[in-house]
Symmetry: C2
Subunit: 326 residues, 2 copies
């Protein structure tokens, strides 16, 4: 496939991969100065924007381009799911080296289109330019029925703490990916979760619509870091029983716990539920495991039950681009 | 000023520079997974997102950090003005080398805050990470009364073609800036326009509210490139009389014309007006010059009157990151 030598041609190539930009609230999509959007009556808009950068978030030579396309949209859409909303459209800012505007771009757009279809989320616009590294910034616009949004700040002492899925699984998948040297078994759940995470839109919407949770956020940097943020926002503390954490398949208990507590990139939902709502929560939501892992406490800070059964402070040791060396 | 070693601290520092994120339709700003936004009743949302990258759009060592802060928001907001809308809030994606997270960041945030105040546009959220170069992606959300948006596609044969301000002035300012070697006279209009452009929000809104224009867009890449896009979108042609183009102060006629036709970064408005509305258009709108520079024709393509008085095709020779060598 040839490389692009003209910005308008590149924009046409991007637009060609997607449905005409309208419907579902999007009144005018790609092709003008800006997009026009209006949610359903009685709904408000949710706005979120995320980086996805070569070298920081993916490796150009190692990650399949279609995984880059899928994941850049999926992880941004996860922030919409984290409030209980539904993603509806997105803006793609893409900066490319000339050498990647052919075959790499094609694979990227195929993955992005698959994610857009999976999420029922239309391309609304964006910006393209040239750069030395591949730079992606994705803005997702969603909608939520007014007053139903689930914030980080709603957790109250005594609420039970839940996670969806298997926290740490994506980080385990990253380890498998690093060892894979190009031969990847996509039937492996953890590897699939690293490459093609699925934001928990249906679960988030269900919890919000039925007012089952008091606070919610997505797990992107790791449970220890993200739960600390929820506690700060809500002005509460939390205690976690690591023995209750589901472990990634194929991991021993101790390494599994470390990954579950500190591994990033999961895009599972972390939410608190008041005790009277707990009986209404199933153990599985459409095949997705929901696990009670602890509870919200008065005070501040996150503590875990250690091996001796005593509570110990949990250090926030998830992903932080400004703290970690790579 | 110290550099940041922790993403949460960086986010707090950014938030500290801005008003609490609410009001004017923004119901929940920075600090949660996503922002909540709802325009006034009877209005739709306008969405746009723009790159502003070190080396491509600004030079870290040469451009004042507060100009980078001002301009990254101003140019994205210009796309909202280009549809006749009003910018209301924005998402800031910022990736920084550790060495720029102190003094440079402070200057950047001061410029960004000034632009946000000038535009009455609130910080709604975004994303931060670390990178080798300074990377900025700004998404602006605006509002427009339903049905009043001015698109690129509305121009009709016989409409008169207008520009605001002095196209080419920003490119002239860039030349002065390159020569300035650090000593800058900010009383110079062209230099100010390169460093601190002012999107034409009031003019765009006025034209849209009064239904005075048939099509509109902003001049970001240069008149020859942008007018060609308007013509393609509208399925029309255009002819331009370069003799009518206002010239940047201090330039001779021939160089001034070249800059006016092909110079980028102006963020002026280009719009078409049906002949019966022409009498309602003033020569100045609140001190901003409005100039009739030609008209929309049947057919396709942009032509200019050459020195011999004959019409010649105008090559689209504005800014294109995929075409131009730097």
């Amino acid at each position: 496939m040839k490389n692009f030598r003209d910005e308008d041609a590149l924009v046409r190539e991007i637009a060609r991969h997607f449905l005409p930009g309208s419907g579902r609230g999007l009144r005018l999509g790609i092709g003008d100065d800006a997009a026009l959007w209006k949610p359903k009556p009685g709904f408000a808009s949710i706005l979120t924007s995320d980086w996805f950068l070569e070298s920081s978030h993916f490796l150009r030579e190692k990650h399949p381009p279609d995984s880059v396309g899928w994941k850049c949209l999926a992880r941004a859409a996860s922030d919409i799911a984290a409030m209980g909303g539904t993603p509806r459209c997105f803006l793609l800012n893409l900066a490319l080296p000339a050498a990647t505007s052919g075959t790499w771009l094609n694979g990227f757009l195929l993955g992005l289109r698959r994610a857009a279809k999976f999420l029922d989320c239309a391309l609304a616009g964006g910006d393209t330019t040239r750069s030395q590294r591949i730079l992606i910034s994705v803005t997702v616009i969603g909608e939520i029925r007014e007053g139903r949004e689930l914030l980080r700040s709603g957790a109250r002492s005594g609420d039970r703490l839940y996670v969806s899925g298997v926290p740490g699984e994506a980080e385990y998948g990253l380890r498998l990916f690093r060892k894979s040297r190009g031969r990847m078994n996509l039937k492996n759940e953890a590897l699939r979760k690293h490459l093609y995470p699925e934001p928990r839109v249906a679960l988030g919407r269900w919890l919000a619509e039925r007012k089952l949770a008091t606070a919610m956020m997505d797990l992107s940097d790791g449970l220890s870091s993200d739960l600390a943020r929820m506690c700060t926002a809500s002005g509460v503390g939390a205690q976690v029983d690591p023995g209750k954490l589901p472990l990634p398949h194929g991991m021993d208990r101790e390494s599994g716990r470390q990954l579950a507590l500190h591994g990033g990139d999961d895009y599972e939902l972390l939410f608190s539920v008041s005790p009277r709502m707990v009986p209404r929560l199933p153990a599985n939501f459409r095949g997705l495991r929901l696990t009670q892992i602890g509870e919200i406490t008065a005070g501040s800070g996150v503590r875990v039950f250690g091996r001796n059964g005593k509570l110990e402070p949990l250090r926030a040791a998830g992903w932080d681009p400004f703290r970690q060396k790579k």
